[in-house]
Subunit: 313 residues, 2 copies
């Protein structure tokens, strides 16, 4: 998590761009070239995704600290899509970006260890070390309890830069069906999940005051965001739901501490489809994405305390 | 779900073999051949997995109705592993087996729709229909509520054979940290999740009395298994935790109804590593897996009512 926070301070930008490609988001000429070379196939689509992602990364990497590829959109193209995911992650890291793989993975014991090694670590094959996907952080679902989280922390080990984000209070309309249910007079399911994040992160607090165990808390529930910020002082928040889902800069402000840290706000659709609003033919898609990323940065930084390292760092 | 239940009745066997390969499970000669041809690489390991999986499938396909490949072990080999997953699924289906992809996927809206299409459906690429992974059923995590389940049901549509299994009460020791928490006097988090399964499945009840929405309930909690069987009459159960995790035939009996239906019990490690107990050099791994699969079938069928179609079918 340290590297993420360092990048946020360096770029003065607490946002992350979700790399969630769909064929509908990709301009016609990018698709046409890929289909001409590889056919109207999973492979062709995966090549279009990669060209598109690389151009977006090139256009935003000096402005935005991190990208968040959403696994689902890559899985939708089968193994060709997963190859594109690995190549996208590697390219973003080469360009200095922190990569949060949005997989919401969950399982237990050796199975969870496999997910952890797949996305945040490596596998040793008869003495040879191989890196499957190589992300910096992974989103996970904590419904299975500690057995599903401990293997991740074991794989991360002492590496200060890796981290996880556990779903706590998600941004969708129906998130309350389970997450808002009351466990007692003053406790909800989401607060209990948040408390588990603090416990899982205990003893792993980094130099900026946050642990390796972050939480996903939606921008669409600003009151809960502020409540959880106060309740979970060592838990860094990944905040989806800004923009297309309805959350504004004021709604996400509660995620941040007095140093302007504590959260990173995601936007996917608004950045990826910014070109559709310029009146052009799509050839300006990367520049349009950059402009929207800058607009988002300015919008959010205007609503939170100035971003700076805590005293003494 | 219909095809799964039909296969269970045909084979008189309510079990599923988890295809969870690790390099440690695969006999030396299978690995040696793959590494000789493809190197000690992710690709080499993926080829070893595929050879191993195919031999296991060949050995059990006339005895066992279904296989359950665990995504984590394939992701651990990167995109080469995901290619192996797709080929394993396709091979098992060719051999007449029902395939439950164990991915515990979860997300919302169009993202969940992408997971659903990736694992249970297809994607249309400029008029061409492509099948990414092509499983028959998918395990999912319901923490996000209806927004995470509805997209799956839309992709499944009227297809009677496809289905999902939602995590309700998992088999691991720490599952109670959240799942056993009390929501009221007589309700737990897992019971609330179970009730949601019944609601999601309502209106989609098939000819055997079960809906397309199943539940994962662990063999290691027999009391809760019986409690949930009574509470969720239309929800088919996928039951992990038999064998290596400690559950026995008597422990899983509570999953079944008076027709010997209502559940399918998973075993992975005991079947996959049966060859390690024969005293051989591993060349008998497929026959050993078959023998263990038969032993498991006989063990479980001896503890439940005789399997048969409900009256009138």
């Amino acid at each position: 998590m340290e590297k993420l926070i360092r990048r946020i301070i360096e770029r003065n930008n607490p946002t992350v761009v979700g790399l969630d490609p769909t064929l509908d988001y990709i301009p016609a000429q990018v698709k046409a070239e890929a289909f001409a070379e590889y056919g109207k196939t999973l492979r062709g689509a995966a090549h279009a995704y990669l060209t598109y992602n690389k151009a977006i990364i090139d256009a935003i990497c000096d402005v935005v600290p991190a990208v968040k590829p959403q696994c689902a959109y890559y899985e939708l193209l089968g193994w060709e899509g997963m190859k594109c995911l690995a190549e996208t992650i590697s390219y973003a890291q080469e360009k200095g970006m922190y990569v949060i793989t949005d997989g919401k993975r969950n399982d237990i014991g050796s199975t969870m260890q496999a997910y952890a090694a797949a996305h945040l670590g490596e596998i040793e094959i008869e003495g040879e070390r191989c890196v499957p996907f190589g992300g910096d952080a992974l989103t996970v679902n904590g419904y299975l309890g500690t057995d599903g989280i401990k293997p991740l922390l074991e794989v991360i080990g002492d590496n200060p830069d890796k981290g996880i984000f556990v779903l706590v209070k998600t941004s969708n309309p129906s998130s309350g069906e389970l997450q808002d249910r009351k466990l007692g007079e003053n406790e909800t399911v989401y607060a209990a999940m948040g408390d588990m994040c603090e416990r899982w992160g205990a003893g792993k607090i980094g130099r900026y005051g946050y642990s390796k165990v972050g939480a996903v808390v939606g921008a669409t529930y600003p009151a809960q965001l502020s409540e959880l910020r106060a309740r979970l002082p060592h838990t860094f928040f990944l905040v989806p739901g800004y923009g297309a889902q309805g959350g504004g800069a004021k709604d996400v402000a509660g995620a941040f501490d007095q140093n302007g840290l504590g959260g990173i706000v995601n936007s996917s659709r608004a950045v990826l489809t910014a070109w559709k609003k310029t009146g052009g033919d799509g050839r300006d898609f990367a520049q349009a994405a950059r402009a929207e990323a800058i607009r988002m940065r300015d919008d959010i930084t205007s609503a939170i305390p100035p971003i700076h390292s805590p005293a003494g760092i």
